[in-house]
Symmetry: C2
DNA sequence: TGAATAGTGTCTTTAAGACAGTATATC
DNA sequence: GATATACTGTCTTAAAGACACTATTCA
């Protein structure tokens, strides 16, 4: 589980690297909805993306995974570094100061704590199926919730910009790389994966061309089973061809939209 | 000019952010050659890419520019963030320790200086015309030179990997974005820009298809002048259409190779 | 048999890729 | 006119995009 930050991070050295952090934009997909996991720290009315400091013993990728695990309880999620953010203005907020934080949290935070210094943030995004997630909030957070990407609450610092950049990167990414392994059940239907792509890209696609191109990549295999969906024709089930999927992750795949 | 690091960086706080740095892979092009600017710090037989710490008052982009300027004397070069690097192993090297450095540089460096801690590095690459550059080495460097990308000397830490990643990003980039404004004279010939692309991509292209596609983007304009090149047919001169070039930078351009 | 969803094929348009002969400058 | 380089056009192939009808399930 997550280490407790409260003692360590307010000291000038310790377990964590200073002036650098990871922000992991955790996207959750479920039934045609794309959401982002956001937290609301105590004492702040604004929300933040899921971030944290980096231990001196871990890589930035390990930090991003640890941070995602601490909220979702899930490991081996699909994640991707997209870009880093750093400028002296990025952590400015009227309520982000020692006095307010100390009053609200009850933890004694010195005014010259390095957490008020400017940090460079390395941005990652992570994808998960949000109905599988049992959310856990951090020790300094009042709330932790999924928000539809199109209706985000007011975000702290430059976090709205970070979410926008993560979304751009995700949308660019799915045209060059397979996606969905962590987001769909082991056996899924064409309409299900089709909806996943439409939802992430936030635009409607031609179902015939979509199926044609997806099959052309070879990453999915049609099974000899169908799924009952009520008073309608039963769709066939498919599964990912894990080898071709992995190869696609490595070498890229063409699915331009 | 470059601030002197020597006093500041060995102290526990000061002008620079801790545990985070910028590495700027500076590529130089000239007459069908692509080179990388590398430095050799005193006391180390290995070479490094051009990097440095980030001031508390500047953005990471400003730091990358300042660092490029300090070596090349040039501003407004084309530069691009590509990815960040961070793991506890990345700054391990047998000669990178206080004792060796103090002995070689004459500057007293405490063994517990934070520069020996692991830093996250934000990677940028920059493009320039290397014949225009009057190289200036940093205060802690024995040498500073251009190296052909295909024949690099032994590099420090993970810098070989960083150069490889920068090259990959650059090559990917030039298929989606115009390039060359900072690398070619104001008026250039088709064979010149053709060579630039061949050199950066390190593969031969079809000259007919190349010209066709480049003209189709609209970013260059044919002039009514030719260039004398000796006992051969005189090639026409072209210039960039700055508006279309800028638009291409913003919205992307298709020049798949 | 009606309502809802699944599934599939063809034609057109556009871009990529392969390929070779003519034009011009100088000696 | 010999040599070296510049310049350009057509055909083939592959991918993208537009588009509409038939099939299945079950109430």
């Amino acid at each position: 589980m997550e280490q407790e930050y409260s003692v360590d991070i307010y000291q000038s050295s310790g377990e964590y690297l200073r002036n650098v952090a990871v922000d992991n934009v955790i996207f959750g997909y479920h039934e045609k909805e794309l959401k982002v996991l956001l937290q609301q720290p105590y004492a702040l009315d604004k929300w933040t993306v899921t971030g944290g400091y980096i231990k001196r013993t871990e890589s930035i990728e390990e930090a991003a995974n640890r941070i995602a695990f601490s909220r979702t309880g899930l490991k081996n999620l699909f994640f991707q570094q997209f870009r880093s953010f750093g400028n002296p203005e990025r952590v400015r907020d009227s309520k982000f100061n020692a006095k307010t934080l100390t009053a609200m949290t009850g933890i004694e935070i010195p005014a010259d704590s390095w957490i008020f210094e400017y940090s460079v943030s390395v941005g990652f995004y992570t994808l998960t199926e949000f109905s599988m997630v049992d959310l856990k909030k951090g020790e300094l957070e009042a709330q932790c919730n999924w928000w539809p990407v199109s209706e985000l609450p007011p975000l702290m610092f430059d976090h709205q910009y970070i979410v926008n950049e993560a979304l751009k990167a995700l949308r660019l990414h799915i045209s060059h790389s397979p996606i969905g392994y962590e987001l769909l059940p082991e056996k899924f239907t064409l309409p299900e994966i089709y909806s996943l792509y439409e939802t992430i890209l936030d635009k409607s696609l031609d179902d015939r061309n979509f199926a044609k191109r997806l099959m052309a990549t070879g990453i999915i295999i049609k099974l000899n089973e169908t799924k009952r969906i009520g008073a309608h024709r039963s769709p066939y089930l498919y599964k990912f061809d894990k080898d071709k999927y992995e190869a696609g992750l490595k070498n890229g795949v063409t699915m331009a939209f």
